[in-house]
Structures are given as C-alpha cells and as structure tokens.
C-alpha cells in the first residue's frame, strides 16, 4: 500500500493542486509507478508565546499536538518546513529569544530530523531578523530535494513586507542557474507574494517583481502562511497555496471590518487549525496537498 492508498483508506481528503495532476492520476490508475516521488509537511504560524485563552485555551498544547500528529503519519515525510511566525510578537528581544528557543525545544520531538524554518513578521520584523538569525538561522536560502528546487524567500524582516532589491537580485541570480522549461521550482515564503488583501498587510509590497522573475519558468508553485487559512490563487501559471495556522484562525480576506483572530468555538475545538502534507510526483510535475486538522485528543 502506498501513501496515497493509505490516505484514501483513512478517508482524508486529497486534492491535486496542479492541472498536470490528471496526468499523474491517469498513470497511477494504469498501475505505473512514478519515480522520484516524495512528500514533505508544511507547518505554519505556530505563534509560540501567544496566551489568550479566549482565542485558544490550549495555547500551550496545540503545537505539541501537531508534533504528535506529524510523528503519527503512516509514512514519514522527507522533511518538514515551518513557514513563519514560529513565535508570537513581543517588543522585548530577550523574550523573543526565549520564545524561539522554547519553540525549537518543542519541535525537537519531531521524529523527522530534517526540519527547515522560515521567519514570519512576528519573529523578525521588529529587529530585522536579528534574534531569529541568532536562534534559528538564515531567513532566506535555497535547497534541492530529489530534483525539486526550493527557494525560501524572506518577505518579513523588512517591517513593510518587502523583499528588497538585494534579495530580488539574489533570487534572479539563483533562477539564472535553472532551466526555464525543465526545472521544478517550489517557492516558500510567509506573506503572500501577490496582493491578496493589502488592507490587512496580506501582500508583499514588491512581490510583483518576484513573480515577474518567476513567470518565465514553466513549473513554479508557491506555498506560504501568514493568513492562517487555506487559500489557492493563480498568478498566470504560478499557483499560490496558503496553509492553516497552528494557534488561531483568521477571518476570510476582507470579511470583517478589522483583522482579529477568530475566537475559540467550544462546539468545534481546534477549528481551522492544522498542517498539510505536500506530495511531489515527477515526472510530470504535480503536487498533492492533503490538509490535516488538529483533533481534540
């Protein structure tokens, strides 16, 4: 039984997020084994240090529950990526250091040891990422996994949510090393690269420049966090997928006069909190996204 069969048996919804998914599905139906498959887990917006019980009475336990759930996955992911806001904001550098250190300690319990981190504005905007880099590591980087080129962008260390000219040049230089037709590119970031809802700072001010750099590449997919809910959007042929958070949900874009966390619903504990797995199949390219809710245990 492969992982997809397991998900079907477990009754967990799976969704292809690329039009090319149909090709892979057809191949699977025909019983062809596709080489190079792997999957990774995206966890986001854990906001360690948040402590309002009206919003999440299990503020100290939700992250640990998520760690347990990921550890319990039938087949372990190749790696795990946290797409920012590991900690909740604080104006005190020492407190931020403490929160990020505690976060790191909790996620050490993940059985998968290849864990990658990215900052959110709560971690990095107040001090331009200084404490984050000290405790966690780099704020933007690249890595390659089984032929897929991952690019982690930092659109949060600038308080205005810009990538900045220097990082855009770095992105451009990295893209020049790739093949426009053949390279598979996954971009990871915290804020949406496009203007999802600028009034709530759900945007990257110079994100259009990054998208322009990415558009000539045939196979690009973006996974991000920040908005604490699932969202799927296309800019040209580039798909952007937002993940659930792991501390509190946020309202749908523009659905409330003011942005504020959605209060805890005792009838639906942990509602809209969760993580996702992303299965990469090649060739042809497609990504299978599976959303996992945090259950009351």
């Amino acid at each position: 039984m492969d992982r997809r069969d397991f998900l079907k048996l477990a009754g967990i919804g799976i969704v292809f997020v690329s039009g090319l998914g149909r090709v892979a599905a057809a191949a699977e139906k025909a019983g062809k084994k596709l080489p190079g498959d792997f999957y990774f887990v995206q966890m986001s917006d854990t906001h360690w240090g948040f402590n309002n019980p009206k919003i999440n009475p299990d503020f100290g336990g939700t992250l640990r529950k998520a760690v347990t759930l990921v550890n319990g996955l039938e087949i372990h992911p190749d790696f795990i990526i946290f797409t920012g806001d590991l900690s909740h904001d604080t104006d005190d550098d020492q407190e931020r250091r403490k929160r990020l250190t505690e976060f790191k300690q909790i996620v050490k319990d993940l059985k998968v040891k290849d864990v990658k981190f990215m900052p959110g504005e709560h971690d990095a905007a107040v001090d331009n990422g200084k404490v984050f880099m000290e405790v966690i590591g780099k704020t933007h980087y690249t890595f390659t996994h089984k032929g897929v080129n991952f690019i982690a962008l930092d659109n949060v260390s600038d308080p205005g949510g810009s990538l900045g000219d220097q990082q855009l040049k770095w992105l451009s230089d990295n893209l020049k090393k790739l093949n426009k037709d053949k390279s598979r590119i996954v971009v990871l970031c915290h804020r949406p690269l496009f203007g999802l809802y600028p009034e709530w700072e759900w945007e990257t001010r110079d994100g259009a420049k990054a998208i322009d750099l990415l558009l000539p590449y045939r196979n690009v997919t973006v996974f991000y966090g920040h908005i604490h809910q699932e969202n799927h959007h296309m800019t040209g042929h580039i798909a952007h997928h937002a993940a659930h958070g792991l501390m509190y949900p946020l309202p749908a874009p523009g659905s409330k006069p003011k942005l504020a966390p959605v209060p805890w619903d005792p009838a639906k504990p942990y509602n809209n909190l969760g993580f996702r797995s992303i299965e990469a199949r090649m060739p042809p390219a497609d990504y299978l996204v599976t959303e996992y809710p945090i259950q009351k245990s």
Partner: protein, 120 residues
C-alpha cells in the same frame, strides 16, 4: 512738500500691492496638519478635513519606522524617524476613513489606527 506727499503715496501703494500679493500667497498655502506616530498610536488619532479643501498631512515618528495607510482616501506613506513625511491631500468625498500603521512595529501594531472624518 507736494513732492514729498507724492513720494509717500508711491511708497504706500507699493506696500499695499506687496501686502495684498503676500496675503493672497498665504491664503493659497494649504493648512499643515501635524501627526506624530509612536508605538502604538497616532497623535491626533482623529482628524477632521473639509471636502474639497486641500491640506498637507505632515507625519513624524517619535521612535521607529511606522507607516500610514488610509485606503479610503488613497493615502500611504512611510514615517521614518528624524524625517518628516508631507502628503498633500484634497478629500473628494465626505465620510469616515480609517487609517492604520502598515509597517509592522511590534506587539500593538494591529491596534495602531485612527480615523479621518471628511465633512461637507
């Protein structure tokens, strides 16, 4: 004596012209409304403007980088410490228009907001 009074008359006319010209220049100068920003508030946080009357909003920061976004009136600027940001505005519609800081500035960032009332 006649020559002297003629001289005074000319000087008087010159002063009158300069005075009138100066006054008209002053009248054309839009009012400057000073707004300071600091974690996590604006002062003042409520501003009243008149529809169709130009003003200049002058922002200063008392601590760190802040922002000012009032989408309803199409205003956005960075507010950098030690550097006044001047934004000319002529409101074209009456109503209440909320503004907020859009450069993440810390734990109270989400509450750093205010409103511009535009009256007829």
């Amino acid at each position: 004596m006649k020559a002297l009074s003629k001289k005074f008359l000319v000087i008087g006319i010159i002063f009158l012209v300069i005075g009138a010209f100066g006054a008209s220049v002053l009248a054309a100068e839009p009012e400057v409304i000073k707004i300071s920003a600091k974690r996590f508030e604006y002062n003042p946080k409520e501003i009243t403007l008149k529809k169709g009357v130009p003003v200049i909003l002058e922002f200063t920061s008392l601590d760190r980088l802040h922002g000012f976004r009032c989408s309803g009136l199409g205003i956005r600027t960075d507010i950098k410490p030690g550097q006044a940001a001047r934004v000319p505005v002529t409101p074209q519609k009456a109503g209440d228009f909320e503004f907020h800081c859009d450069n993440f500035c810390g734990s109270g960032h989400g509450n750093m907001a205010g409103v511009i009332h535009v009256v007829e």
